[in-house]
Amino acid sequence: MLAFIIRRIGQSILVLLIVGLVAFSMFNFVGDPIDNMLGQERTAEDIERLRIQLGLDQPFPVQYFKFLQEAVQGNFGVSYRQGRPVAEILLERAPATLELAAVSGILAIIFGIALGVFTAIRRNGVLANIVMSASLIGVSLPTFLIGILLIYVFSVELGWLPSFGRGDVVDLGWWRTGFLTESGLKALILPSITLGLYQMTLIMRLVRSEMLEVLRQDYIRFARARGLKDRAVNFRHALKNTMVPVITVIGLQLGAIIAFAIITETVFQWPGVGLLFINAIQFVDIPVMAAYLMLISVMFVGINLAVDILYFFIDPRLRADRAGGH
């Protein structure tokens, strides 16, 4: 197992390096940051001076190498737009995104699994069919449209919930939380539904089809033949065996929730890292884009690693295979 983990970490680092290289090669196509940084009164000398100062006159592999050199020491440079260290900005913005992602993820998992089991067990029920049809909306509508629809209904027409922002936050010193105020909690509702809806329907559909598969297996029939109660059959035997592929997907989707919070954050003006990234693209804020992309790839790679390791504990067969050695 140790060898497996070490090998996976090695692969992960390689993936990270490649992601970084591709990212840096792309920055040239996003535009020229100098244009946004100097006003229309700038002169050719100003442009040249700033370009050299920022190291933008160097070819991109050199820029990348310099970035890596600094990044391993924990220095991600200075934002072109805000003029502040990137690490500081990311830390300031991270709580908003993580809180939103956590709430969306939990909602998606709870409702996804519950509805998936329900629609699998009551396969032909009227309610289950309605849920299944409705879930198509969640899969097919783009996130920004769902967000705008929710804003239209609940903020503009009904006036129940705020259309933008995070409400009042409480500063805990190193973490600004919106969980402790009423306006903070209210502000969480619409964005977390918007962000989690796709994941919820995905989990629900996956749980349902996996569960239907499992319910057809012989051991389930035998369990029923033994006269076990429905609840024991469905939840102790069927659901448990359904969970292996579901956990993989949930793990990967957790990464997706954080990474794709970009769209939800833009629609709801949620002050998290996704909104920061969108701003960075528009302004060609290379240090912020680079740090964000690296952060997201570290996260995806880390989640994949964690999911692989989790398999060992959930699926005994994998353990046996590895223990046997190849």
Partner: protein, 526 residues
């Protein structure tokens, strides 16, 4: 009895002078200020936020006219044509209570001339600022500068002692990522005091009850909550749902929606920004066309024909939903040198345009690439698409290449485009600013935005002489003459003047400011 009457009268008087209720103005627009350091960034939204807390010597009121702020009056010196004399307002204090004197003005100008300052170009002609006494200063320029006051309306005055005490005598090194006390704190003389600020999230200011002009201006807003909201749909939703009272950067497609909503209004005015196309006439051959060895744009007849093909009324009605004013010259209407006659010098004449093209030897037309931004001006890409169709009518096949602004503008400044869209605002309200950047031949520090390749030495000399011509009538005659050349050469194809829209709750009383710089002290709330 008498006594109680006097008392109640006194109470009534007090009640009328002291505002009874607290009025919060919740204000949203698409972007935030980049920094609070008064001299670190010369950028619209940044200046707008600063204007609530800091003051320059002179401001522009809602009509764009000069209004005394920290200076009470100003005039060129009678002894020396290179000197302007400013009399300063007495009895003004900064937010921390210290007194405002000439020393602070001298210090602020020196600070704004530091290498890290982004304001240094605007006051590049100033060689010295000296205090004559506590409330008089003299500004010395490197030659007579008749329009100096126009360059001072965003030049904010700081307290010398405050900057020294907080180690912010030097302008923040913005590009180097420096954070100073002045980046996140403010101590101005302005009508509002900074309470809290979280960049890109929220900035809160409260009324300065010691403001010198508290009785002179409405000052009915007691608290400002400023929130940037990027997504246009969300921004409008926030206004519709009543979470915001005042909105800048209104999307054109939602104007009717907001106007029809109960309790909301949209106010509009021509903006200080004109939109036009530039054509590279200077090169012998251009890359963007299909004609080898020749540059069709070098022929004034071709340029005139292209301008005649553009139907500005159609663009106004269809693309802009009525939110534009067709233009015939590339100066916004309140700029010195603008004339209604020249601004009407654009007409649509497809047959005439075809004839002109044939005369120039392009009866079969030609094809050319048009470079256009897609995130800078109101409906910029859609305007270009409309122009593609209109130019197609006279046989000019246009291939549209629309890009984000960060990729578009370097094409113009690096001379890599032959046919492009550009918009221009004139912070000094004087034509000289337009000539310096768009008409003068391109050099390292002048003509930097002139992508037309137009370079006329006589005209350049005339443009340079404007800077020091103190005879205003002669200067205006020169300006008119330069415009005549620009118009006759068909140097640019003017499209329209943008119209500025502000959305607001009915209780908010304010007129639209052509610079898109609302100053909350002028707001009424009832």
């Amino acid at each position: 009895m008498k006594k109680t009457f006097a008392l109640s009268l006194a109470a009534a008087l007090m009640a009328t002078t002291v505002p009874l209720s607290a009025e919060t103005l919740r204000w949203a627009r698409s972007g935030d200020a980049l920094t609070l350091d008064p001299h670190a960034q010369n950028e619209g939204p940044t200046h707008t936020v600063r204007h609530q807390m800091y003051e320059p010597l002179i401001i522009r009121d809602v009509t764009g006219a000069f209004e005394p702020a920290l200076a009470t009056d100003w005039a060129p010196s009678t002894d020396d044509p290179n000197v302007w004399v400013f009399n300063l307002r007495e009895g003004v204090t900064f937010h921390d209570g210290s007194a405002f004197t000439a020393e602070d003005v001298v210090f602020s100008f020196e600070r704004a001339k530091q290498p890290n300052s982004d304001m240094k170009e605007l006051i590049g002609s100033i060689t010295e600022v000296r205090a004559v006494d506590d409330y008089t200063i003299e500004i010395v320029t490197d030659g007579p500068n008749p329009i100096l006051p126009s360059n001072l309306t965003n030049l904010f005055i700081m307290d010398k002692d405050w900057t020294e005490a907080n180690d912010t005598v030097n302008v923040q090194d913005f590009e180097g990522g420096e954070i100073t006390f002045a980046t996140t704190n403010a101590n101005g003389t302005g009508p509002y005091v900074l309470q809290s600020r979280e960049p890109d999230v929220k900035t809160v200011m409260t009324r300065n009850d010691n403001y010198w002009g508290i009785d002179q201006f409405p000052m009915q807003v007691t608290e400002i909550v400023y929130t940037p909201i990027q997504n246009a749909a969300t921004r409008v939703a926030a206004l519709l749902s009543g979470e915001v009272d005042f909105l800048q950067d209104m999307p054109v497609q939602d104007l009717d929606r907001v106007n029809n909503a109960d309790g909301l209004v949209v106010k509009q005015a021509p903006q200080n920004r004109v939109i036009f196309f530039g054509m590279n006439q200077g090169a012998d051959d251009i890359e963007a066309d299909n004609i080898d060895g020749k540059n069709p744009l070098a022929d004034v007849k071709v340029r005139k024909a292209m301008s005649m093909a553009i139907n500005r009324d159609a663009i106004r009605q269809v693309v802009m939903r009525g939110q534009s004013q067709p233009a015939g010259m590339i100066a916004p209407p309140f700029v010195n040198g603008w004339t209604a006659d020249m601004d009407a010098e654009s007409s649509t004449d497809i047959e005439g345009a075809k004839a002109l093209l044939a005369e120039a030897g392009y009866a079969d037309g030609f094809s050319i690439r048009l470079d256009c931004p897609n995130d800078r001006y109101v409906n910029d890409e859609a305007i270009c698409q409309a122009a593609v169709g209109m130019l197609g009518q006279i046989g000019v096949t246009v291939n549209l290449d629309a890009k984000p602004k960060a990729q578009h503008f370097p094409l113009i400044t690096d001379g890599k485009t032959d046919f492009y869209m550009l918009g221009w605002g004139v912070p000094t309200y004087d034509s000289e600013y337009i000539f310096n950047f768009l008409v003068h031949g391109r050099e390292s520090d002048i003509g930097t935005w002139n992508g037309t390749g137009f370079d006329n030495d006589d005209l350049d000399a005339k443009i340079k002489s404007l800077a020091s011509n103190t005879d205003l009538d002669a200067r205006n005659a020169d300006i008119a003459a330069i415009w005549r050349v620009v118009q006759d050469e068909a140097l640019y194809i003017p499209i329209h003047h943008q119209v500025l829209n502000w959305g607001m709750a009915e209780k908010v009383g304010i007129e639209v400011d052509p610079e898109d710089q609302p100053k909350v002290k002028y707001f009424t709330m009832n």
